[in-house]
Symmetry: C2
Subunit: 348 residues, 2 copies
């Protein structure tokens, strides 16, 4: 699958959006009474191109797993051996997102894109799209070669096409990778022109000393890359990783195919920001599943103009915040068809 | 059912709460990564008295409907004829909360406690517990007689007992009644010792002029009642309504029976505040489903020490915000049993 850079994405239906706004205003409720749920119903209708929209039944999530060179440099509370252990936990259906996905009938797939482990004994399909073992330590070197970046983007777009062929009405990208909040925060800082001090968070829960160190490392990475940040592809090559690039490709592929994406936390929103830079207008196909406590996630959501559905202080990653929000998207998809119109009320 | 006033409520299990906190901390996730969802899982376990808790499958919601004398005095954007029309819409399964309840398999029951209409042709079971036609206009007279207040409280407790007998693991009280944000705001102002200016909101969406009028009317009601606000039963008699008193009794009955309640918006939280005054400790059996844009709702939540699950700007009432939050309570009930422990991970 050839990956097109810079070409705008066709937007969701403007006329259906107008129809949905009209129908929402005509429901047998006070104007605006559904709040954010009503706004979400309009988005769902516009992305489907039909009002009232169809129920959003088939939701599919893909976890893009990978390791990061920075995890050898004291930026995480956990060792990188946790990454392959968690891949095995996803396969076993025992992770946090596994429980949520089962509850909500969300198809869950995990792909090793850049894990620093051979995952011996794990279903080989998990490694089908592997790009490399770990990505580079971004404060010292580029995360990827330009060729690897393109290949990872293509992998992500291919996976999106597969999931859409399998019937997905809504896609979610999840993440797993010790150290991955460091490249994600760097991608956001680079895209927004912000210093490391404004984007660095505690990730899995580092202490004050490690937080300062993490911030220094992110600033070092930003300083190393300099003006290359002006180009989104260079930014991804220099500051991202194979797993993040695949998630970006997944989002761009979904948007180009007209399939909406529900974003998760910091990693997912960092990828969405790059996706919208690579494919202008892609953001119109994205909704925000939740707000994470990571400062960079909120900064990126603001830049993208997205309001999160949930704000529960979740910071697990894995796609868990988005999967937890799926019932609300489904609720939104039902309102416009199932709720009576004010004109239908018998006021005696 | 005799309704006991002032007797403290036995709390959820303290030892199970400790067990649940310990198990949550041992999950294969960073500490605190589930955020509010993790706190909710601990509450669910404590209310059930077992860790890990059972899945919360059987949720039952009751809408207590009633009219309010104040609706004849310009406090709402809608005429009171909407109340019986909406009761019929609930019966037909076409209201906002109907769609959400179907989606989440929440049993939904509507009861006319004080509607100013005979509801001719509607299933007589809906009127089985009717107290009166409309409650008094609170700025001019008491909403209820003391005998009606007690009867409404007993009705609510009886209904809670019925729903628990039907298998409810979690209860929700919903509301319907044009004008009901006025008595609800007055109950909160009276309970918190605040002036009308701090509690008055737009309800179904009144304009600036009506908002000022609504605030004056609430202040007039508070001034009329004076020191009687120090007694929760007097407060309910003077400033409440039959439907609100029934909802209070429902919550107290649930708490005394050890069945948790998920609160909805302004009306529900106002009733919870009175319930906790009548039955100290009842609040420990309550969780907050959502934050409403009504200022008094947030003030009451703060007083009760509750953090809402959703914050979507919903202001529909009907129990809709609580029903929309049910999947999150169910998610919370699954985490402690379905997610692997950190000790189970194979770190190679």
């Amino acid at each position: 699958m050839a990956f097109e850079i810079g070409m705008p994405v066709a937007p969701p239906s403007v006329s259906v959006r107008e129809d949905a706004l009209g129908r929402l205003a005509g429901l047998a409720t006070p104007a605006g009474a559904f709040g954010g749920l009503g706004e979400l119903s309009v988005w769902v209708a516009a992305t489907q191109g039909v009002c009232p929209p169809l129920p959003v039944e088939r939701v599919r999530a893909v976890i893009f797993a990978g390791d990061h060179g920075v995890s050898d440099h004291g930026v995480s509370a956990y060792p990188k051996q946790v990454t392959p252990a968690m891949v095995r936990t996803f396969v076993a259906g025992r992770a946090g997102v596994s429980a949520l996905a089962r509850q909500h009938r969300v198809a869950l797939r995990v792909l090793d894109i850049g894990v620093d482990d051979d995952l011996t004994g794990v279903d080989p399909a998990v490694q089908e799209f592997k790009i490399r073992r770990s990505s580079g330590a971004i404060h010292l070197e580029d995360a990827l070669t330009p060729e690897e970046t393109l290949r990872a983007l293509e992998v992500g777009a291919t996976v999106a096409a597969q999931e859409i062929s399998a019937g997905a009405q809504l896609l979610i990208s999840g993440d797993m990778g010790i150290g991955n909040t460091t490249p994600a925060a760097a991608l956001i800082a680079a895209s927004l022109g912000l210093p490391a001090a404004e984007v660095t968070g505690r990730g899995t829960g580092v202490d004050d000393t490690a937080l300062v160190h993490k911030q220094e490392l992110i600033q070092q990475a930003l300083d190393r890359v300099g003006d290359r940040c002006n180009d989104p592809l260079d930014t991804l090559t220099a500051l991202g990783s194979a797993d993040l690039a695949a998630a970006v490709g997944f989002m761009v592929g979904a948007a180009r195919a007209g399939t909406p994406v529900l974003l998760d936390g910091l990693i997912s929103v960092a990828c969405a920001l790059i996706a919208d830079r690579l494919a202008p207008g892609a953001v119109d196909w994205f909704a925000a599943g939740h707000r994470s406590p990571e400062p960079a996630q909120s900064l990126a959501l603001d830049k993208l103009g997205l309001s999160p559905i949930l704000d529960l202080g979740m910071r697990l990653g894995e796609g868990s915040g988005a999967v937890a929000a799926v019932p609300l998207v489904r609720s939104a998809s039902l309102l416009l068809s199932e709720v009576a119109l004010l004109a239908d009320l018998d006021l005696g």
